[in-house]
Amino acid sequence: MVAVAARTSRVTGRRFRSVTLGVLGLLGFALVLEVAPRVGIVPIDFAPPTSQILVTLGEQLGQPSFWTALLRTLLTWANGLLIAVVAGTVVGVLLGSLPVLRAATATTVEFLRPIPSVALIPLVIVLYGPTVRSTLVLVVYAAFWQMLIQVVHGVVDVDPVARDTARSFRLGPWGTVRYVIWPSALPYVMTGLRLAAAVALILTITGELVIGSPGLGKEIDNAQQSNAVRIVYALIVVTGILGVLINVLIRQVERRVLAWHPATRAETVEGVGVR
């Protein structure tokens, strides 16, 4: 019993040590950003110390306009992601299960996919002006490909034995998708979702910054135009926190959805690489 206790404490000890180090790292990081402008390593007028940014952030939290902007950003992100995920999944399952269709569209996909979504910026501005719609086009375009590629991979990767089994049980096309293809493609789908969610946030902010559709990005741009340096940084910090929260959220969803899965898929070259 003593041995067991000692063992457990050794393991928790190691975890404790790495958590402590991590917290130290964060504190050190904040400290560097606090001290660097104060001693003049970076100009204090353009890079305010952490404490000032945090105070400004606190002030922002009391402003209704901040919350409106945040909400708008989140809505654009969520809507864009939703459209991209649904479209990417439907098209992906189709292309994945019909080899002829896949072969016929392969070159087209390979050509369209690397077209940077920012190339569409001037286009959507003339077509829709500085509206949410413009930004949504960018978000959907960018996130759609992430989703599509993973779903196609996932569907193609379905165990042929499982497919044959489905056929011998006469499951029919819908049953095959529902009970065979979908479950085994799910890990890929989740990877796609994770990539798409991150990309969608990037393009949401981009659209707001550059096109001027309402949201946090636009607020940042406004603050920069009017030289409200601290507000720029406070809002940037908010987008960072948003990014962290979205990562955590997607990871939770992933864990919940894939809990039953026998082999939670190891990251490969196709994956994101970082947990």
Binding site: A3, R7, T8, R10, V11
Partner: protein, 263 residues
Amino acid sequence: MLEVKNLHKVYDGHGRRVTAVGDLTFTVPEGQFACVVGPSGCGKTTLLRVLAGLLPATSGEVTVRGTPVTAPPPDLAVVFQEYGRSLFPWLRVRANVELPLKAQGMGRAQRRELASEALEAVGLSDVDNAYPWQLSGGMQQRVAIARAIAYQPKVLLMDEPFAAVDAQTRADLEDLVRSVWQRLGVTLLFVTHDIDEAVYLGQRVIVLSASPTTVAEDLAIDLPAERDQLATRSDPRFTELRGQVYARIQQVKRAPAAEGASA
């Protein structure tokens, strides 16, 4: 010369404590071909890793050619049990063999010559331009052996090198190892779980007990130096020695804990 004195090794980590080696003592004189046999999980790999300086002992002492082992000793080569994974998949066969020589600062011409010789010796001259993963398991094993030969070690450690190859390849490789040993005059410690292989290959067989591991039997193999797959294996003395080792291992299995003091 290899000396193992009261070697004791405990793995401790991830909330698990495993005694891999209980108390091992033996000596292999310069130039001897010694085989180590023992049931799987008895700590053979652990022993080799300690000898190679890849793993610290918990207690006891290990010396290679008179120097206590604290880091990988010079003039010592290892052929790993996971030979496939020990080859660099991004290097072609020849580059795999030459890399250790390059690390010694050896010139290009000499490197080429030694590598060619080694590849020739294992019969792989024609695939020196292939990647390891393009070769069969047996061929990969021979690349690993060629790398060890080209390194010109004084001590060679081999960890169950033939566990995963087919019977015919295995026989060929066994004879290859014998001829390499005879040619290089190295001290060779050869780990296996196969009794026949141990008796056929070595000048001596060290039988390990199951965990907590000790030397259960230390047997000189007095077969003629020239060995032959057919003649040697049908030699009555071979059958007799094999029987001895087998009986000993069965005995060890039945009462592992009580076997410490013998040998």
